[in-house]
């Protein structure tokens, strides 16, 4: 990871100064928005395919199972290999995501046994693995990066603080050995525990131990005050690197296999027949979902992450019919949700509405005493913001939105009512019973419509010049007759039928 970060920073230093870069990265908001945005981009790209394959809840499944992977890998790292506990270590990410994929395979086996339905297998296996993970966390893990709160919401607000430092000039590493000027010593009783005596006992023997002897990186040396000249440092948040790598990986995968993914999503059988190996693609997709879920765990926890997979593609799906557009739109929706979500956590909705005002109004209305300062979980707010964007899309999408659907349906219903009446008149106007069937006063009874509805439709038909009233009976005009035939033709063509009326 380090060389990659260094290369990236050098690239960035061509554009901005070091101080500007540090200032940018040290702002909690910028780091959080950047990490959230990257999760959103990679999640949305993969989620679009999950959605189209009817596997949206599989991301839920995977995010639950990778928690168990993370916990086991974490326990292995800390307890067996005695490494420092770091949930953004590449090894942990790799191991945990393998666990996620393995568990997906296991549940597929469970419902293939035929005893449990697929939804029941999903609904059963994932809570179980999650439950085991939670028990392990609460029983055996004592680490701030992996407690129950972190499992739920992550620590995206602290992404800026967990950094790797890179030094570019005046780089002095300092090693303090016992003979160094700055070495500090402490006296410690060397045989107290052994003999079970107190240090004041006369048998106590003492040794001098150097308390600050170790190697110092330039950054550590500077903050410990060991250096004269300030080194040129850049502090780069680890989460950004991890998510950047994963996003690039996802992007490369989707671009390189776009054609194959498209075909195997649409028609796996054909893809198989053409030799595109849809099965292998499926598992690569699952591995990437697992990787992103593990990589995002630090930032957003293991439950909220599914929003990054599900919501943005769902919103994009309501906007367009084309896969390429969907893949283009959903990362934007996700990233917008992440960026505006940070403001929401700090109490601002799109910078237009302040939540504090809302709470104040509530206090007045219900006579409560709630604190007006709104300072909430960043990751949850990002999810909520994505949900708000989804709601807006749902309401306003020109093609599939609620408003346009309501308008379109009303229009279609009007056309449909017209056609029902026209067909009825057409079918009966030359039969013996036409006096009964077509009498305007009784017409509504044949359709079981209300009188008002009938007269509304009749008025409309007369205004359109399709129908005349002749001696109290409804009769088609020539135009109306043509209309019936034209509609019948289109309707029956829809059923792949020859025209019957001719």
């Amino acid at each position: 990871m380090m060389p990659l970060e260094r290369w990236l920073i050098e690239l960035l230093l061509n554009i901005v100064t070091r101080d500007e870069l540090n200032a940018f990265l040290r702002s909690p908001q910028n780091s959080a928005a950047l990490v959230g945005g990257l999760i959103a981009v990679s999640g949305a790209l993969l989620g679009a395919f999950l959605l189209l394959r009817g596997l949206s809840l599989t991301s839920d499944a995977i995010s639950h199972t990778v928690l168990l992977g993370i916990v086991i890998a974490f326990l292995l790292m800390t307890e067996v290999f005695r490494l420092p506990g770091d949930t953004s270590s590449p090894w942990l990410i790799l191991g945990a995501s393998l666990a996620g994929v393995a568990t997906v395979l296991l549940t597929e086996m469970l419902y293939r046994s035929g005893l449990v339905r697929q939804d029941a297998a999903l609904g059963l296996a994932f809570p179980l693995l999650f439950a085991i993970a939670v028990i392990l966390v609460s029983r055996y893990v004592e680490d701030a990066h992996l407690d129950e709160d972190a499992v739920l919401v992550g620590e995206i607000g602290l992404a800026w603080a967990n950094t790797n430092s890179h030094c570019f000039s005046n780089c002095e590493s300092v090693t303090i050995s016992p003979d160094h000027d700055a070495a500090k010593f402490a006296r410690r009783c060397s045989n107290c525990r052994e003999l079970g005596i107190s240090p004041r006992d006369e048998r106590a023997r003492f040794t001098e131990i150097c308390s600050n002897c170790r190697e110092y990186t330039p950054a550590q040396a500077w903050s410990a005050g060991l250096l004269e000249r300030e080194p040129a440092l850049v502090f780069f948040p680890k989460s950004i690197t991890v998510m950047l790598v994963l996003t690039l990986l996802t992007l490369v995968f989707v671009l390189a296999f776009y054609k194959e993914l498209k075909l195997s999503t649409f028609d796996a059988g054909l893809a198989q027949a053409l030799g595109l190996r849809p099965g292998a693609l499926h598992y690569v997709l699952m591995i990437l979902v697992s990787l992103v879920a593990v990589g995002a765990f630090d930032a957003v926890g293991s439950i909220l992450v599914i929003a990054f997979f599900i919501i943005p593609p769902a919103a994009a799906y309501l906007l367009t019919d084309r896969l390429s557009l969907m893949l283009l739109l959903s990362p934007f929706i996700g990233a917008a949700g992440a960026i505006f979500g940070y403001d929401l956590a700090r109490g601002q909705l799109f910078g237009l509405i302040a939540i504090a005002d809302g709470i104040a109004a509530l206090n007045r209305l219900f006579d409560l005493a709630l604190p007006e300062k709104w300072d909430s979980s960043i990751s949850a707010s990002m999810v909520l913001m994505m949900f708000i964007l989804f709601l807006l899309t749902w309401l306003l999408s020109p093609r599939y939105g609620l408003l346009s659907t309501v308008i379109r349906r009303a229009k279609r219903r009007r056309v449909f009512e017209n056609q029902v009446v026209l067909a009825h008149i057409h079918n009966h106007q030359h039969t013996a019973t036409h006096e009964i069937e077509l009498n305007v006063a009784g017409l509504h009874e044949h359709f079981r419509w209300s009188k008002q509805k009938m007269s509304r439709v009749l008025t409309r038909l007369r205004a359109l010049g399709y129908v005349r009233i002749l001696a109290g009976n409804a009769v088609l005009t020539e135009r109306g007759d043509r209309q019936v035939h034209a509609f019948r033709k289109t309707m029956l063509e829809a059923h792949n039928m020859p025209d019957l009326s001719g």
Binding site: L57, D119, A120, L124, V134, I135, S138, V153, S376
Partner: protein
């Protein structure tokens, strides 16, 4: 008319399992005090009782969720309850009944929103459930984070609703839950017939004048009630598992809905009580996860060992079948070869018989030889007398089955399940068999 007064063997088995677990549950506390000298405090007993009541309720209603193929819906509903809990706390304070009402309303709104998405967009059910699940949950988390910033609110114990904390259950909670629970169970008992019909065949129910919409809505509401009541114990994230696991386990043991629901209730009560007690004794273990682990062990146990459906038995059955088929097929091959060469004891060369049926031949030959049906003859195999008799019986049985299929209707023989592996004489009444035998051609009869 066959009046069924005695219980079938399968029924007896299910009822004895139910009785056994109930007895074990009832005697759990006295027994463990007597045998292991464990002392349960009053608090632990209350917690155990609460866990049992909640487990029972979710077992009963979860069975219906499983049968309606709505296992994942429970997951969405329970996650969706969280913001309700938080808002109820903000408005009304820490009164359990208010918190539960809030949870119920939020969860119900989630359900409405879900069906609104499904009706007005082209999003599929999985996606829609995912959206409701995570959006409502995020709202809940955001509100809980806000609540933590309120002075004195941190002792409210709202985060117990996330993973469940049995130790927080007090006597008045158990009273409340039991009262609601009795009401729920009474409703299920009264509308048993309606729920069953609507779960099995809603279309037929509709044609029979039942108001399917109303009954479905009622059933969904009861499931929401069970989910909401269970939140304290299992928490929003894992409640779905506690809801469906007992039903899935119970389904393996029985073929009747009555027994399934009762068994699910017993399983649920068992898992709820054990999970609650373990977590009350060790405060490091949250209750919800513990209940899930116990429930899943029950499911695992049922899936492997339930008589009939269990994986273990079906594996064994498959193996036995494979063996039986190997023997009978080898016998038929040998007999056919012999007949085509003019004599029933004409030996078939070894490499021919291996060529016909490569995979199962070893097992077939071994079994036939052990039964004395064949013997080695040079580089081949010859049918012994008992082997010939066996082959003739088999051939005759197959011919009778053929005749049954051919003439069963015109002879108006009783309808039986066609299973050619069975001896037809064992499944067909003697009179009917005689009729069939009269149709046998002379050279096929003995």
């Amino acid at each position: 008319m066959v009046a069924r007064l005695t219980l079938s063997a399968a029924d007896k088995r299910v009822w004895s399992i139910i009785g056994g677990i109930v007895l074990l549950g009832a005697l759990f506390i006295p027994l463990s005090q007597l045998l292991f000298d464990m002392r349960f405090t009053y608090t632990v007993r209350v917690v155990a009782l609460g866990g049992a009541v909640l487990g029972l309720l979710s077992g009963v209603l979860g069975s219906f969720a499983v049968l309606r193929q709505e296992s994942l819906l429970g997951d969405a509903l329970s996650h969706a309850a969280l913001p309700g809990v938080a808002i109820a706390f903000l408005l009304a304070g820490r009164e359990l009944s208010w918190l539960l009402i809030g949870a119920g309303i939020a969860s119900w709104l989630g359900l409405r929103f879900l069906s609104a998405i499904l009706h007005t967009t082209r999003l599929k059910q999985h996606t829609a459930m995912g959206i409701v699940l995570v959006a409502w949950f995020a709202a809940g988390i955001a509100l809980l984070t806000y609540i933590q910033s309120i002075p004195d609110a941190s002792q409210a114990g709202l985060d117990h609703f996330i993973f469940g904390q049995a130790a927080a259950i007090i006597e008045s909670d158990v009273t409340l839950v039991s009262a609601v629970g009795i009401f729920v169970l009474l409703t299920v008992a009264l509308l048993w017939k309606e729920f069953k019909l609507v779960a099995f065949d809603p279309e037929f129910a509709g044609a029979n004048g039942y108001r399917i919409g109303l009954i479905n809505a009622l059933l969904s509401t009861l499931i929401v009630v069970a989910v909401v009541l269970g939140l304290q114990l299992a928490g929003v994230i894992l409640m779905a598992g506690m809801l469906i696991a007992p039903g899935i386990a119970a389904r393996q043991w029985t073929q009747s809905l009555d027994q399934m629901v009762i068994l699910a209730a017993v399983f649920g009560a068992f898992a709820g009580a054990v999970g609650a007690v373990v977590s009350a004794l060790d405060s490091d273990i949250p209750t919800g996860p513990m209940i899930i682990v116990v429930s899943f062990l029950l499911v695992l146990f049922s899936i492997t060992l339930a008589p009939g459906r269990g994986l273990l038995w079906s594996r064994l059955r498959q193996r036995a079948n494979r063996r039986r088929f190997a023997a009978i097929n080898t016998l038929r091959d040998l007999y056919r070869y012999a007949l085509s060469h003019g004599a029933e004891d004409y030996p078939a060369p070894d490499d021919f018989i291996r060529g016909v049926r490569a995979s199962s031949i070893e097992s077939g030959l071994r079994q036939l030889r052990a039964a004395g049906h064949i013997m080695e003859a040079g580089a081949g195999w010859r049918l012994t007398e008992s082997g010939i008799a066996q082959a003739r019986r088999d051939r005759r049985n197959q011919s009778l089955w053929d005749l049954y299929r051919l003439h069963g209707d015109e002879l108006s023989l009783p309808a039986i399940q066609e299973d050619r592996q069975l001896d037809i004489a064992a499944v067909l009444p003697a009179a009917a068999l005689e009729l069939l035998e009269s149709k046998l051609k002379p050279n096929e009869s003995l």
